[in-house]
């Protein structure tokens, strides 16, 4: 882990010093030990702030979109899952490849912050997290707690498809074993959901969607959402609000419509990085929605996970004579 960080800092400093890139987007230590924060390093000195570890869940690829209309060259630090998003943006011509330096990091799985914090006894303060490879040591001011690391991984990591970046100009470390585990089928929860009858599905999602605040954090964090003007943010006078598809009215039916539209819009774009679910302030299981789309696209159109290469075509942007057709 240490050498990866060193390699990363050295490469970032080299890129910045040689003016090869204007900015390196990476991770830096956060406000507490169980947090990292996105870091935008613009000088070689700032490159020393960069870090890497099992608490770097953010998908930094989304930040590229903030700079897509500039002419500066950028470097971005990506994990395996984030690298699929890089491919997707390149494919959609949202960011030119020649203005991008991809710094890949080998990822052994990301930790779920909430479940780490729940292990800390009340009153104790977390001071540091040590990663011994297999075990995770939580150093608190009331003593050290040691746990097997794979108890705390994020759900997506147990189903990891690519723990090494699928696209990278520079790789900061040797390949590490994938955190994916046996018995975590890609579609297990989706299958379970599909098996329910329609009234149960309806009440399950009503329960989830009724909490939705329509804060659009899921969209803001989503690397698949690259529109300059989002359908949900079109300027519509108030008296037309309830009459359009992307209404801003915060009610259960409108929330359901919001999520249905988002679900359809990320078809063939969603790389299953899980950022939507992570950032959701009310904990709606959004990946359960988007993984359904992944599954259906796979079954109906034989589409693989988007972003595995820049060659894969999105199922909704090509026509094949043998596409399934229900409505004709």
């Amino acid at each position: 882990m240490k050498t990866v960080v060193d390699n990363l800092r050295r490469e970032a400093a080299r890129l910045l010093a040689g003016d090869e890139v204007k900015m390196v987007i990476g991770y830096a230590a956060g406000t507490d030990a169980a947090r990292t924060t996105p870091c935008f390093a613009t000088t070689p000195e700032q490159a020393a702030l960069l870090t890497w570890g099992p608490l770097c869940a953010n998908n930094l690829v989304k930040y590229l979109l903030d700079y897509r209309f500039e002419d500066t060259r950028l470097a971005v630090v990506v994990k395996g899952c984030d690298s699929r998003a890089v491919n997707r943006l390149l494919q959609d011509l949202q960011f030119p490849r020649q203005r991008l330096v991809v710094l890949g990091v080998p990822c052994g799985g990301q930790l779920d912050r909430a479940s780490i914090l729940s292990e800390i006894p009340p009153g104790a303060r977390l001071q540091d997290i040590e990663d011994t490879g297999e075990d995770l040591v939580l150093v608190t001011d009331k003593g050290r707690l040691s746990f097997p690391k794979d108890r705390f991984l994020m759900d997506k990591c147990y189903r990891c498809e690519t723990n090494m970046p699928v696209v990278a100009d520079f790789l900061a470390g040797e390949p590490v074993p994938s955190p994916a585990r046996e018995g975590f089928e890609h579609t297990a929860e989706v299958d379970g959901m599909e098996a329910l009858d329609i009234a149960d599905k309806s009440s399950f999602w009503d329960n989830e969607f009724s909490r939705c605040l329509r804060c659009t954090a899921c969209r803001n964090a989503c690397p698949a959402c690259s529109c300059k003007e989002c359908v949900f943010e079109q300027a519509v006078p108030g008296w037309q609000q309830s009459g359009i598809i992307g209404s801003k009215v915060n009610s259960l039916p409108e929330n359901a419509v919001f999520h249905l539209i988002r679900m359809f819009h990320v078809t063939g774009r969603c790389v299953d990085c899980g950022e939507c679910e992570r950032v959701c302030p009310v904990g709606i299981p959004l990946r359960l929605l988007y993984r359904k789309v992944l599954k259906d696209a796979r079954i109906l159109y034989g589409a693989g996970t988007p972003g595995m290469s820049t060659e894969t075509v999105s199922p909704l942007s090509e026509f094949r004579p043998d596409d399934p057709e229900e409505f004709m």
Binding site: E194, S202, A256, L260, F264, T267, L289, V293, D296, L300
Partner: protein, 54 residues
Amino acid sequence: MLFKQMMEYVGLEPDRLQIRWISGSEGAKVAEVTREMTERIRALGPNTKMRDVK
């Protein structure tokens, strides 16, 4: 088709969605399909799930 499966997934009756390609010269077919669709929706009843609370 993808969208129909999504509707079903979040608990809407998938029969409420119908897409037809009808040419401008097929006036009779428009009437027929519309009638068919109306019958089907009538059988399903009002869509209470998507009704706005006002």
